[in-house]
Amino acid sequence: MGQQALNGVFVGSIYALFAVGYTLVFGVLDILNLAHAAVFTLAAFIALALVDAHLPLWLALPLAVAAAGLIGIVLERLAFRPLRGRADSNISGLISSLAMATVFEAIALQIFGPDISRFPQGTFPDRTIQIGGASASLLQLCIVGTSVVLMAVLTLLLKRTRLGRQIRAVAESPRAARILGVNVDRAIAMAFFLSSALGGAAGVLFGLAFNSISPDVGRSVELKGLAVIILGGMGSVPGALVAGFALGLIEVFTVAHLGSSFRDAVSFAVLFLVLIARPHGLFGRAAAREA
């Protein structure tokens, strides 16, 4: 029981980290960035390439996360900015992000090939720690720790810093923000940087955790991420956090007690029920936007 809860928290922390970035962009732009999962994949591959180039992991991880952030800025420049201000920018942005996702996936396929790539043995010290009756590897604890720290940093950044206030202002109303002197394009680009950096971090951690990276690895979190942000309330960062952990726990207990075939069925049934009870998700508010 304790071990399963730990397994759930572990996978949930990765879902939450992935979904927090996902929901951030939605909160700011009202657009689903469907290339988020592709950034997740690319970051995992970048970290792998850096480790293969004999960089230590503590250096490869932040570098890959920064690279993912930069990919986010490129993504915003190419897929979203040219469309901004057009009447149909919500739908066309969705489509162009889907196109970018395909491009990113194709790049990963070209460079790293279709097979499953793995971090070399011993990338992370193989140590197991006993917590009560449960056991966790050092890697798992570090992954949960890293995700929680990153999500805390994001929350503080949004609440306390000038950049955070600008991003929240743009989320509220781009026009009002512009009148108040906020550089809207820059704030949006920064939101993309943060979002993609978090998505990338989730990718690297996922790659390390399950040590199995392929160009389609993003698909395993893509739909989960979407479920998490809907469950948490579209655009709500704390909602994505709570929903991420909840989904991880639900999945693990479903697999252990009902079988793996029921995993997605139960997850989406819960999503469905929550939406009936709270149409705007757990933390979403009607007609209000948050970043």
Partner: protein, 377 residues
């Protein structure tokens, strides 16, 4: 629509490019003589590690057959991407466009169950070289053959031997339930365990794209079985064994045919140690046919395994079938030739087909020791 309106020329070019993409595929050289064989292999996707080995085996055998004088063969290799859909597309291409004499493959039983009926309908002989699902392959029809032993032929013997060595009484079972092969493997394992009087204390499932098996393994390990029994493809198998060791599992692991790949050992690393699995190829066999195969693989710089041995054998069998039918290379000739084949010397041992067109030869058991599969005597 607006894309087409705004950029009519580039759009048209793009469409043309997409439409023409497939035209560049290699076609058989007309007048080269000899038989053209199509090989549908999983060069990408979850089964890619098998596909690469199979390609190496086919190429080695092809060199040998063509240098030997007599029968001449050429093989078109296409990627079935480890999926049913792509497998069907490749089969259609082989049957209708390339007009091949026979088809080798596809790699996965799952793909074979969907693609083989097309060949059966078109009366094109198919020789499976790695389809091990006990049912649903050769019973598709009389044009479907295979040189791979089924799980039902390998696993009971392997489990019997493993039980003699390890003396286990209870087992926890984990299997992939979204794949014909891993599911069929599970069915056979379950029966083999029951026949050996082993009690199954827990059964868990997973799907091919899964990467996290912690929930299943935690539940299984909590039931305290003597042995962990796993039916999975090599990529899943490596992750499962690695995660089981991380979860503190120190007991033995018995695998199905999916474990029979150097890729499994490479990816699982130290976790693979002492994993036991039944195999249809005895790497230590001193038969001349096996020594010849080992030499050819060494020359090609490929680490030989069961999959390359079976692929190699597949080409040798087709060449023999053509020889049996007097050198004629029509589809019906090869079909007739396959029917006459008996006690052929191959790397797998003396090879014959059963009346049901399945493979017939002696299986073995192997165990990972010092990072290598070693035959258990």
């Amino acid at each position: 629509m607006s894309l087409a309106r705004r950029w009519p020329l580039p759009f048209a070019l793009l469409l043309t490019a997409v439409a023409c993409k497939d035209q560049g595929a290699q076609a058989p050289e007309p007048g080269s003589g000899g038989a053209v064989i199509g090989a549908a292999l999983s060069l990408t996707g979850p089964a890619a590690s098998y596909g690469a080995q199979q390609r190496a085996g086919i190429q080695a055998a092809l060199d040998e057959v063509n240098q030997g004088g007599g029968v001449k063969l050429s093989v078109l290799i296409e990627d079935d991407a480890s999926t049913k859909e792509q497998g069907i597309t490749v089969f259609q291409k082989f049957i209708n466009r390339d007009k091949v004499s026979a088809i080798i493959g596809p790699t996965l039983s799952n793909t074979a169950s969907a693609a083989d009926p097309l060949a059966q309908q078109a009366k094109v002989p198919v020789l499976g070289i790695s389809n091990t699902a006990a049912t649903g392959i050769t019973d598709i029809g009389n044009y479907i053959w295979r040189d791979s032993l089924t799980e039902a032929q390998v696993i009971p013997g392997a489990f019997k031997k493993a039980k003699e060595k390890l003396q286990f009484k209870t087992a926890g079972v984990l299997y992939g339930n979204d794949d014909v092969f891993t599911k069929a493997g599970y069915d056979v394992m379950q029966k083999a365990l029951a026949d050996e009087g082993v009690k199954v204390v827990g059964t868990q499932t997973f799907a091919k794209p899964d990467r996290d098996y912690n929930a299943q393994l935690t539940a299984l390990i909590a039931a305290k079985p003597d042995v962990l029994v796993v039916s999975a493809l090599a990529d899943n198998a490596a992750s499962i064994v690695a995660q089981a060791r991380q979860r503190g599992w120190t007991g033995p692991v018995l695998g199905g045919n999916g474990f029979n790949s150097p890729a499994f050992i490479k990816n699982a690393g130290a976790a693979a140690e002492s994993v036991m699995v039944g195999t249809s190829w005895n790497s230590l066999s001193q038969d001349p046919a096996n020594q010849k195969f080992l030499a050819a693989m060494k020359k090609a710089g490929v680490n030989p395994d069961q999959f390359s041995a079976q692929a190699y054998t597949g080409v040798i069998i087709l060449a023999e079938a053509i020889r049996q039918s007097g050198g004629k290379t029509g589809r019906e000739d090869i079909e007739a030739g396959l029917g006459k084949l008996k006690d052929l010397e191959t790397p797998l041992g003396k090879f014959s087909f059963t009346p049901g067109r399945d493979a017939q030869h002696e299986p073995s058991v192997q165990q990972v020791k010092d990072g290598k599969f070693q035959i258990v005597q």
